[in-house]
Amino acid sequence: MSSESNIEKVDNINSEERVSVASQGQLIWWRFRKHKLAVFSAILLLLLYLTTLFAEFFATSDPLESEAFRGLIQPQPIHFFDEGKLSPHVCAMEGTRDPYTYKKTYKPNCDKKTPVEFFTKGYEYEWLGLIPMDRHLIGVPEGYLAEEHIFLLGTDIQGRDMWSRIWVASRLSLSIGLVGVTLTLIFGISLGGISGFYGGFIDTIIQRIIEIIRAVPTIPLWMALSAAMPFSWSIVQIYFSITLIISLFAWTDLARVVRGRFLSLREEDFVTAAVLSGANERRIIFRHVMPSLYSHIIAAVSLAIPLMIISETALSFLGLGLQAPAISWGTLLQGTQNVQSVALYKWLMIPAFPVVGSILLFNFLGDGLRDAADPYSD
């Protein structure tokens, strides 16, 4: 019974009072804040999505600029010090061709240095497709050509700079999750809501449809549907078709969550009270039922996005998703389809890291959100 435990008591009383007056949203936020990993993931993801807006700024070279004789150069680190002085530079990559196998191998030659500058001018691009710019985070001084001198993560078989391509690819790969989830939300909430709110015959039909969709192996169907897209379609058309195809099969989880909540909410007194006081269906759904669903929906969404990212990556990897010249992490990984390239040109696997990383972050976030959204968890 020291003074310390008395302070603890005071704290407890306060927190108890706070809890009893807090809104649902505040409660979820408090519980979410306790999940350090989830909060950390949320911040990182926010930053990651922010960088997609400035993808070209992070790129060093034009991601589409190909040159066969620069193909398959290995990653080249930036040296920050030169003879003890701060002077960022990269060593030139010199290729020699094996006279027998005809294979070209590159070696750094540190006698030939290319200085590296930050916040410098490089290739021209249109920021957000609107404003012409040429500023880049990393670049080479005037007189040098970035495409010929700087390969931070190496080059692919066509001599395109991997570092720049990964940054630009993140835009399609990460946004496909968001766009796809929007469609999933529309399908999931409307069908799950109808199923749970009306119940009875409609519910049975929708539940059977969900069961069947879940019993269907999705990847072969995705493959077939995406293979059926005409070659003449533009990147934008293919992009939206892919998201549509993926969300056609991804809405069932969300629909089940929403239905379950609707079913249990139908029994709740506050909904009965609203019905008895003469509120119409629309009002009941949007004023009474939906607010208590948001948290569950947010959690389900954050767990659905990584599925979308995986699906797109897998489809594009197989050559059935986005096609060149579109750049996504999946299309970048196409170069690793055979074992030789994986073994000899390991850096071609680098695009796997952002895929795994972003999916991990989403899963951590989703896990934290799900715990926070559950009113009966601690």
Partner: protein, 343 residues
């Protein structure tokens, strides 16, 4: 009753709980569920432990079998069991929670009857299977004998269609039948002490009376002690020989059932007794309630826990200067010293 009284005068209690403290260490703070409770269980008699929900009576009795789940922990006190065949005293608090010593006590020496027989049986195993398992754990019997014994017990507890019920699942039985099965399971290994944790709360009144009668009958046949936990003083009056009143993790008054009902000393006991509805009550008269409310477990008052609800506590008491301690006011009648001083 009087016969029993004289017999146990010299005999040591079969179970003594001294200064038991069980704390739950949660993220929000430490909950002191049991804070220095002491009581004795006498051989062949029924001890009723009465108190409101949350007073720690269930936690205290689960500690007797070391069944308190984490984050709960016995932090102090001793539980001395003297029913061992070798007449050895066993301090249950010093046993390992999953060692063989405590396992032979659980079910074999001390067993438990739970409040909700529906959820207390596994729904995917037959009732018979779950009782046979208990028998085989404590008696060296083969499967057929264990089955036979189970059937015997089903008959003894008055189960209708005993053969058929054995092969049924708990959800196929009625509430009363399930509680009978539960009693059979608790008694099948001839324990010395049976802890009945509100065994009749979930049942309707008629079934309640039947189950109480059954327990009394079986006690006369087997001679085991019963610790009967309830918040229902009516039930206590019917089944107990001795009564301990629990409030906020402490025993505040302990005496024979007659003493408790006829000359209660602690204001909390008096309050509880006053709040029993009775047919002698005049019509339309409100039942008296105990003023104030139970403090939150995070926020136990220091010193006397009941001081904030006392009618006229002394100054020392109000400031929490008096420690809680049971003192004997008349032979066999123990009351917390606080309330004596508080008036």
């Amino acid at each position: 009753m009087t016969k029993k009284n004289t017999k146990i005068e010299k005999q040591k209690p079969i179970l003594s709980v001294n200064g038991l403290k069980v704390h739950f260490f949660t993220d929000e703070g430490t909950v002191k569920a049991v804070e220095g409770a002491s009581f004795d269980v006498l051989a062949g008699r029924t001890l009723g432990i009465v108190g409101e929900s949350g007073c720690g009576k269930s936690v205290a009795t689960r500690s007797l079998l070391r069944l308190v789940d984490s984050p709960g922990k016995i932090v102090d006190g001793e539980i001395i069991y003297r029913g061992d065949a070798n007449k050895k005293e066993i301090n249950i608090t010093s046993l390992k929670t999953s060692g063989s010593d405590i396992k032979s006590i659980r079910g074999g020496e001390i067993s438990l009857i739970f409040q909700e027989p529906m959820t207390s049986f596994s729904p995917v195993h037959t009732v018979g299977n779950q009782i046979i398992e208990a028998i085989k754990l404590h008696k060296k019997l083969n499967k057929d004998d264990a089955k036979g014994l189970t059937l015997d017990w089903f008959k003894r507890v008055g189960m209708p269609d005993p053969e058929q019920r054995m092969n049924q699942y708990p959800w196929q039985l009625s509430g009363g039948q399930r509680q009978r099965a539960m009693i059979a399971m608790a008694l099948c290994c001839d324990p010395k002490i049976v802890i009945a944790d509100e065994p009749t709360t979930a049942l309707d009144v008629t079934t309640q009376a039947q189950i109480l009668d059954l327990l009394k009958e079986l006690q006369e046949e087997n001679g085991m002690s019963i610790i009967f936990i309830t918040h229902d003083l009516g039930v206590i009056a019917e089944i107990s020989d001795d009564v301990s009143v629990m409030y906020l993790g402490n025993i505040v008054e302990s005496a024979s059932v007659d003493e408790i009902f006829h000359s209660p000393k602690h204001p909390y006991t008096t309050g509880l007794l006053n709040s029993i509805p009775s047919i002698t009550n005049k019509n339309r008269e409100r039942l008296p309630t105990i003023s104030g409310s139970i403090p939150h477990p995070h926020n136990r008052p220091s010193g006397c826990t009941f001081r904030n609800r006392c009618q006229n506590p002394s100054d020392d008491c109000r400031e929490g200067k008096i420690e809680m301690k049971l003192i004997e006011v008349s032979p066999g009648h123990f009351v917390d010293q606080c309330c004596i001083n508080c008036g």
